[in-house]
Symmetry: C2
Subunit: 235 residues, 2 copies
């Protein structure tokens, strides 16, 4: 029997806006360095720094800020004016205090499902920043558990759905990242529900696992309750 | 009945060296800025920045690196040479990959207690960095649970000892920070065992709660098993 009892939700760009703040900051960053390189090159070099630093910094805004500073030094051949560094620190700190903007259908959907299912928030990034956003979102009460993790692999979902639910086989993960939310949850034996967001970081891209029987794609979170009901009838 | 069933351990400077890397880096930082200020002033300004940024960055090396960069800009009146910024980035990254140096008595004590008690690692700081250190320490297998938290308050211990144990009343927290490990665990109703370390960050200082019946102080972790045995006989 495979009735779903536990639903995991990604947070950034699934429950609330996130990537848009990175994009805005990247644009701002490009204007700061405009005299040293073209916009596209700046973007590419920053992404390269982020990718390289992932093993040191993990995910999150503080690491992103450090990568911006490093890229500014590189692109300017070590001649970046200190006031640009100052401004990068400021925009990084602004990102860390941007107001939380919940996405459409989120609250209603969580309220519908809470009680009937165990809801678990599963997110990566800075522990401190994610806790702040959860508190500000006012959604914390709707979750039975919150797991802030450094990476999302099949083993991560295996552990979390075993600890907070009845194992991955009776669990579903919902999120906007095929690479971090959907594919590894399916690999662990669970359902993986892809809810695309217009903006998704290039390092989170992966192919849709269309052949997987436990893969589903929704247009928005408002369709989730109906999907779960349908799967329950079929199950 | 108040038999202890669960023991929480702090990580940094309780299980392994940590503060010494910050001190070394602070010294290095002071030499980088030697032409702009005296050593003592540099130290004071850096601490001021760290304190101010705690609400934005939380604890950990990435936030510390950003605070060093900010302090360098401040102390130099915005004239810091870019190669100094470059060097600060490098020392920050070095801190994030320093080898883990387990403190004396740690492994033997954990091995003695594992099995007989539920052992929980409770640490704050960067999620990513703490996971790295735990993996490198080789101590992970000895713990029943690992909780990396953004702050350590009485509520934190209430939650963790309820989730992973039989409540704070039957739990003990062991660590080198009176402020984060010992006092809030006692406030939650548990035992608080202080194992001082030569180096403890000034923001972690607090008075010893000598009047609290559940406060104990040990010279080193090698004395822990005997203490627990003694409390068991008295209990």
């Amino acid at each position: 029997m495979s009735t779903i009892t536990t639903i995991g939700f990604d947070a950034d760009d699934t429950l609330w806006q996130n990537e848009q703040f990175f994009r805005q900051t990247e644009k701002h960053f490009a204007t700061l360095l405009a005299e040293h390189a073209g916009g596209h090159d700046i973007e590419a070099r920053l992404l390269e720094a982020e990718r390289r630093n992932l093993a040191h910094y993990g995910f999150g805004i503080k690491g992103f800020t450090l990568s911006m500073i490093e890229t500014a030094l590189e692109l300017s051949g070590g001649k970046v004016p200190p006031n640009v560094i100052r401004e990068i620190l400021d925009v990084g700190r602004e990102m860390l205090s941007h107001p939380v903007e919940t996405l459409p259908h989120v609250r209603e959907t969580l309220e519908e499902l809470a009680g009937a299912y165990r809801l678990v928030l599963i997110t990566k990034g800075d522990l401190f920043d994610q806790e702040r956003k959860l508190a500000q979102s006012g959604l914390g009460e709707l979750f039975d558990a919150v797991e802030i993790v450094s990476d999302k692999t099949a083993a991560t979902y295996q552990r979390i759905f075993t600890c907070h639910g009845d194992g991955p086989g009776r669990s579903m993960m919902v999120g906007n990242s095929l690479k971090s939310d959907v594919v590894p949850a399916i690999q662990a034996g669970g359902w993986g529900v892809y809810v695309p967001h217009d903006l998704t970081w290039v390092l989170e891209h992966a192919d849709e696992p269309t052949a997987a029987p436990r893969f589903r794609r929704l247009e928005h979170l408002g369709e989730l309750s109906a999907l779960i009901e349908r799967l329950g009838r079929e199950g």
